[in-house]
Symmetry: C2
Subunit: 132 residues, 2 copies
């Protein structure tokens, strides 16, 4: 299978497939004319790569356990768990941060609504509060 077909089958752009190769995630053979030749298993492999990318893992992290998860169930690959745990910690921190900002924004939007109709006992002062 050549790169165009693999791209069509997996939804990954040709550019991305070449990038995965440069990152050591996949290693197609080369035909005598220099064209990449992918084995049929590459299709599953690329889907797996894209799945982990969607989870927010980097190509470097994926490279660390891809061989393992391709050959057996993920839960048997001890390299995977710490990656998941650290990613989870990241995400939770991001969610916490975004939630703080969201709450701040909703408060501020609400104070527009209050201000535009009538001051309902609220301070008219510019209240730019931090919530760190």
């Amino acid at each position: 299978m050549k790169i165009g077909e693999l791209s069509r089958r997996t939804g990954a752009s040709i550019r991305s497939l070449r990038y995965y190769e440069a990152q050591g995630l996949i290693a197609p053979l080369r035909e005598s004319n220099g064209y990449r030749e992918y084995s049929p298993l590459a299709e599953e492999q690329v889907r797996t790569i894209r799945f982990y990318l969607q989870l927010g893992l980097t190509t470097e992290q994926i490279a660390g356990f891809l061989n393992c998860v391709l050959s057996r169930p993920e839960t048997f690959c001890t390299e995977v768990l710490p990656v998941y745990e650290s990613k989870l910690a990241d995400i939770e921190a991001q969610i916490a941060q975004l939630t703080r900002i969201r709450d701040n924004l909703t408060d501020r939007i609400a104070s527009f609504r209050g201000e535009s109709q009538q001051g309902e006992g609220e301070s008219m002062r510019d209240e730019r509060s931090e919530r760190r």
Copy 2:
């Protein structure tokens, strides 16, 4: 006040202060030797800029309403509300996306725990589910 002092007072790096100027957020005078001379009001102005940056707004968005909010309470500046609303929509989408990923990660981590002790009636198969 020169740039070093303003930097010390506000916590913004000198580099950042020059960047804010390049983005049209602040316009110090120049002394005959080319040094920037900031008015005392600049301190408040920079704090305001940094506050909005922490809310995740871009310098371009801030430029759109900074003059207004510096001279009156934020809630009187009609340019601000749509910016807040669109930023809020962004943030909520990001939170939703991160939450999906987080839930996926926690599920997968949980299945490690199940797998490592004994299969408790769970499928041993690699269950890589999507949750879109």
